[in-house]
Homo-oligomer: 246 residues x 2
């Protein structure tokens, strides 16, 4: 069944959903007709099964037949909180792969060893680019949620974004750490988690100490050193696997 | 300690290892001196701790003090067997990320739905490019093994490359499948495994049937549809996590 994203769509059963713009064009490309069924996702975890009622000028009208939670969403909500990489393509990669692999939210942060320091305008442009990448990846992978992509301007903001989850994990490449497996097994069933990973140069020791004091589990991902764009996705995959969402 | 790769290095304790070319230049950039200790990896899982004895013209002589297995290698040898992606950068990505995440070998194959059909010359060029990417990624991530990258020209070759492992896994996006977690838990401790994933268009039903008949576990990675370059790395991460190599 063809699937469309209409962000914020909140029509009740019997109500009318409108496809407009690129979605309406896409419905035409798919040669959909009156009476055909489509799936409309609100981008926030709910699907609406609809039946097409009419084709207008540049829009398609569909009636809501059924409303149900999107089956492809994981049982655990994971925030990916990553140090802003120096190279733009690495950040794009974090957004695309984290979305495919089931993240609920993606937060970039600036920390001591971040090289990239975009100003307000540049950051705005990047954020809208990342949000588009997340939307595309969510559609392609059949997600029910489009992860929100945001940025915080300091390390404290990163800790704050992550600590509000049931299982805040901080990945550090040295020092006192537990294997991720141990941290996950000790945590038991969780409904939310966060993974914090550093930029290219990693973390300052005081940053890791602050995270530990704030209540994070400081974890390792084994003896291999992962690149800054690889680590968050690897951690996310392990988390999804461990929680039965794979 | 500075780490160098000298492929095929097999000097015994007390023997002399020579760093040449870019490695010798790199030793100079690092301002290493006579008496400094370095680590020399043979690219096949063994490290040699050496002490620098002399700097020659374009070469550095070091004496082997200790020989030990490389600590960063996983306990399970995983072959990543992936349908050749249409876009070159996706294949590059599979090689780089699989190497970082601990694969022992990477095999690309051509199957029914592969769009890319490089001829012999183009494939040779690609293979040498991929091998360079694997070598770079192995160095960066502290691997002890540089994964061999190869290509087979049909689907039967892919099955053959994977079936020789203790746990050959075939990832299929539809039909009769077990969750990866179940397959791994039922397999118990394994020393070798293979993950087969398809190209952009996925597999033909007969390809999945053939894999099942040949003895593969046909697995799913959950309800989200991963891109062809994302799937092998996600499967590898889950496998490394499940086998305690994370």
């Amino acid at each position: 069944m063809a699937r469309f994203f209409v962000a914020g769509c909140n029509r009740p059963k019997g109500g009318t959903v409108l496809l407009t713009g690129a979605d309406a064009d896409h419905a035409r490309v798919l040669r959909l007709r009156v009476g055909d069924r489509i799936e409309v996702c609100d981008g926030a975890g709910t699907d609406r099964r609809c039946v097409i009622r009419a084709f207008g000028s540049g829009e398609v009208e569909a009636e809501v037949e059924e409303i149900e939670p999107c089956a492809s969403e994981p049982t655990v909500q994971v925030k990916v909180v990553a140090g802003l990489p120096k190279q733009g393509e690495r950040a794009d990669y974090v957004v695309q792969k984290s979305t495919e692999c089931g993240a609920t939210e993606i937060v970039f942060f600036l920390s001591h060893r971040c090289v990239a320091r975009p100003d307000g305008y540049a950051l705005e442009k990047k954020l809208s680019r990342w949000q588009r990448i997340a939307e595309e990846a969510a559609k392609q992978s059949g997600r029910g949620v489009i992860p929100a992509v945001s940025a915080v301007e300091d390390f404290a903001g990163a800790l704050d974004a992550a600590i509000k989850t049931e299982l805040p994990l901080f990945f550090y490449e040295t020092g006192d750490r537990v294997p991720l497996k141990q941290a996950l097994e000790e945590a038991g069933v969780v409904r939310s988690a966060a993974v914090i990973t550093g930029p290219e140069g990693g973390f300052e020791p005081w940053e890791a100490e602050l995270a530990a004091k704030t209540g994070f589990r400081v974890c390792s991902m084994g003896p291999r050193i992962l690149r800054c764009e690889t680590a968050p996705v690897a951690a996310l995959n392990a988390l999804m696997y461990a929680t039965g969402n794979f």
